[in-house]
Symmetry: C2
Subunit: 360 residues, 2 copies
């Protein structure tokens, strides 16, 4: 492990994107998205993703300096063509529209095609929450999820995110893949040499596996809920719902037509679909923020099963990680990440990150 100053890690990510021709504004926004994931303790969606974006720009699969545009709109909806820009540029453009429409009519619903990976979905929902709105963001992704009973993957890890502002400085923050776990969690068990729990992933025979290597090689994740006995068809249904809001509604690539991860950078444009929704709670019953804060505080004080593991409200884990990162001014990365970033710095002739070895 090594520690890097937050400002330096963010500078490095932005510099790399600029080095491959991305305009400053787009590079800075994409770097802000990535560093937030690292601060939130979701390293899979942080610096770890940088190289994929760089490869897509270098291969011409992503055009970071294009402009997204509205193809069609009504009072509360917009259909956007991201025009193959970086996912962050497309997402900010679209969520801005959803926010404006929610401020005008109570709801804004924006569907985006022609986009690229847009990082941690919650980052975009948070944009709406920062304006006092309920924000929602969804995106489709490459096929990795096996529908209940299926031997093959047909949907992505398709996240659902909802963020809402509450009174007393509280907020509701939900950002979850609709698979039981992300591939990164399997990778972690593999590194530790430990098996994976039931309900995470399938082997090539379509059956649950607890072998981390088999799971990693097969890349066929189980939906949230695991197998049929524990209602895995619900997680499958949720992933399909996200696809309905994203690729199917926007006319982007959808479901089984989305390029696979292994082709990142050499499979042509990703043409991903996203969906952004903003809803104004002020249009409904007064006291929304108070009721939400009451729930959040109630959940935290529930009697825990294990006295050492307090019940958390959705988002508490992320907020705690971010507060710790802010307090130290640093984020930490695994050795492999540090090495690949150093190699990237050399390749792109960018000033490398300054790493302090973490002795923990």
């Amino acid at each position: 492990m090594g520690r890097v100053k937050i400002t330096d890690a963010q500078r490095f990510m932005s510099d790399c994107l600029k080095a491959v021709g991305t305009a400053s504004k787009a590079a800075d926004l994409q770097a802000a998205l990535l560093i937030q994931a690292d601060k939130f303790g979701h390293p899979s969606h942080g610096l770890n993703r940088l190289e994929m974006y760089i490869n897509d720009i270098l291969s011409g699969a992503c055009k970071p300096n294009n402009q997204p545009k509205i193809l069609k709109e009504s009072q509360s909806t917009a259909w956007v063509d991201a025009n193959n820009v970086l996912g962050a540029t497309a997402s900010q453009f679209a969520m801005d529209i959803a926010i404006k429409k929610a401020q005008e009519t109570g709801v804004g619903w924006v569907s985006v095609k022609g986009s690229n990976h847009n990082g941690m979905a919650g980052f975009w929902s948070q944009m709406a929450a920062d304006k006092g709105l309920i924000g929602m963001a969804f995106t489709n992704t490459s096929p990795l999820l096996a529908p209940a009973r299926s031997k093959q993957a047909a949907l992505g890890t398709n996240p659902v995110s909802v963020v809402a502002p509450a009174s007393k400085g509280e907020s509701f923050y939900l950002d979850m893949a609709t698979t039981a776990v992300a591939v990164g969690k399997i990778e972690m068990q593999l590194r530790k040499g430990e098996p994976i729990p039931h309900g995470w992933a399938q082997g090539p025979d379509g059956k649950e596996t607890t072998d981390a290597q088999v799971a990693f090689d097969t890349k066929c994740l189980m939906p949230l809920g695991g197998n049929e006995t524990t209602s895995g068809y619900k997680g499958y249904g949720l992933a399909a719902m996200v696809e309905l809001f994203c690729g199917i509604l926007s006319g982007a690539n959808y479901g089984h037509h989305v390029r696979s991860w292994s082709h990142a950078g050499d499979g042509g444009p990703a043409n991903l679909g996203h969906c952004f929704v903003a809803v104004d709670p002020e249009r409904f019953a007064p006291g929304f923020g108070d009721r939400l804060a009451d729930c959040i505080q109630h959940w935290r004080q529930l009697e825990p099963t294990d006295p050492n593991l307090a019940v958390m409200a959705p988002g508490d884990k992320e907020k705690k990680a971010a507060a710790e990162a802010e307090a130290s001014g640093t984020v930490s990365y695994v050795q492999q990440q540090i090495e690949s970033s150093a190699a990237l710095a050399e390749k792109l002739k960018v000033k490398p990150m300054q790493v302090e070895v973490d002795l923990q």
Copy 2:
């Protein structure tokens, strides 16, 4: 088991509601909602619920002949006071508004307070899909779900439902509780004298139990995803999201403030909250129905893990059950249900259902 003609079961449910003073229109709608659940193979939400509604009317907790009203509205939103009518009356009133607003502005988002149990959520989403829209319905319910790490329940089974029309006569139909399973599934294992799988329910010590009796007595269901290892916090987050859209947004009872099941009929008005959303897919990319049908058909032909268990699209199970019920013109009920319905008929002086004993 016994079989009853669909028309006779529906007539019986409507008659019982009318016998306790419900006007015909409201009684017929509530009966249509219940019979649809029985046809869909979800008996927990069908005739099984009738007695709870009757008890609520008899105790004065529900006022079936009141009128719901709009308290506040904007171009794309409405806040509705159900005024303590039956859940079906409130839901039809609210979804009608959501549909009209979606037809005008692209989206309608309606939040309802002061309501009662509104049956199978998908029934209301289907109303929007029947008009060519994407329909969504959510409701809060009595606390039964234990948040991840909690010994106590704090949220309901809070369902999410999404229904959307596709080309080629297909549709997407998702209607799922955000708990791993419903209480009814535990009851079924109890009757069979079999244990329940891991990941369904907790015992009084807050730990997973496989003892059906302990699970049934504790009434503390695990969220979709099961324990923390298999991401049960995601199901908890989804249940909380539904509460945010329902009780919290509408100012109804919410979360831990919702009356418990055991008080049904003697705990005063339920004051439940619902949320109904309609979105017009025509405001986005042309070809929505074709892409959705393509996915549905793709999912069905995926190679199954067990050659005898074909992969299904969300809603296939319900549609198959409904087609079988339509073909035979009957629905079947367990013996206990038949007996309690006969007792109810006698109590309310209503013509009983005519039951054919099912020899299966």
